[in-house]
């Protein structure tokens, strides 16, 4: 491996260890929830990554539609996949949290509901991409869909919030104030998570690009060989 890769991995490893230390040892338990609050560092940070990833998918989709360069499409595709994984994390950690704090694995809380809808929306995005063979068309369709889905997310969240507003809301964050140490921990986990996202996005994009290039080159080689055979044959 190259030097920058070692540096990157070491940095990542250190970040992870520090984050783990901050989460579980340095930061205090919360007054009412106790140690359960520690899930939050993981949960909220995952959510931030998921939203960022989908936002970037939508943005890069538009860039692709305008500039028509494959790299944007490849990056958008990879970003949606990462976002999907982190949305799953959010749902799982949210359920664990819910069970511990509200004594229920699932509730139709606005944020939870939106996250679940988000999960379905991008599941469809990935399936849509995978089921269209024409590369140009798949990229365009996915860009348009990604953009519309991203526009719809705030609308969905707002409407679900209003919806809950009418019905009794079991979840409140009232009386939840964070001591500075908790704030630092939360901030640090944001940094680590976003850094992790950036690294995975970057490597995966390069891989996606290389894989596409490889397939193109193989095709070229096949054509060139055919031409060569033709010439020798005639």
């Amino acid at each position: 491996m190259k030097k920058w890769q070692w540096t990157l991995i070491s940095l990542l490893g250190i970040g992870m260890i520090v984050s783990q230390y901050l989460d579980f040892i340095a930061s205090p338990p919360e007054a009412q929830m106790g140690n359960v609050v520690r899930i939050l560092y993981f949960h909220v940070a995952s959510a931030i990554v998921a939203f960022t990833a989908f936002g970037i998918t939508a943005l890069l989709g538009l860039v692709f539609l305008v500039r028509k360069q494959w790299i944007w499409d490849q990056m958008a595709r990879v970003s949606a996949e990462i976002g999907m994984v982190y949305t799953t994390f959010v749902l799982i950690s949210g359920s664990i949290w819910g069970d511990a704090v509200w004594n229920t694995w699932w509730t139709w809380d606005p944020t939870l509901t939106t996250t679940l809808i988000l999960w379905f929306l991008y599941l469809a995005y990935i399936l849509l991409r995978a089921s269209i063979t024409d590369r140009e068309r798949a990229a365009k369709v996915a860009s348009v869909y990604g953009f519309i889905a991203a526009i719809d997310i705030p609308v969905i969240h707002q409407s679900v919030t209003w919806w809950r507003g009418i019905h009794p809301n079991v979840i409140t964050m009232q009386g939840f104030n964070m001591p500075p140490m908790m704030v630092y921990t939360l901030m640090f986990s944001f940094v680590v998570f976003l850094g992790l996202y950036a690294v995975i996005l970057w490597i995966s994009t390069m891989m996606a690009k290389d894989r596409d290039d490889l397939n193109d080159l193989r095709e070229l080689a096949r054509n060139a060989l055919a031409k060569y055979d033709e010439r020798v044959g005639s």
């Binding site: 511990a100 995975i200 290389d210």
Partner: protein, 48 residues
């Protein structure tokens, strides 16, 4: 109430998993690069 120990272990597992995933990703990427170079070289040879 969830035990702190379990929580710690679960988080640690996720971290370690992610870490090795990134390492594996880097390695896969490197192998892909090498293969790409290979095909490129082969293409050059064919052209000549």
């Amino acid at each position: 109430m969830i035990m702190l120990g379990y929580l710690f272990a679960a988080a640690a597992v996720v971290w370690v998993g992610t870490f090795f995933y990134v390492v594996a990703l880097l390695q896969r990427q490197r192998r892909l690069r090498l293969e790409l170079e290979d095909v490129k070289r082969m293409l050059e040879e064919i052209k000549e």
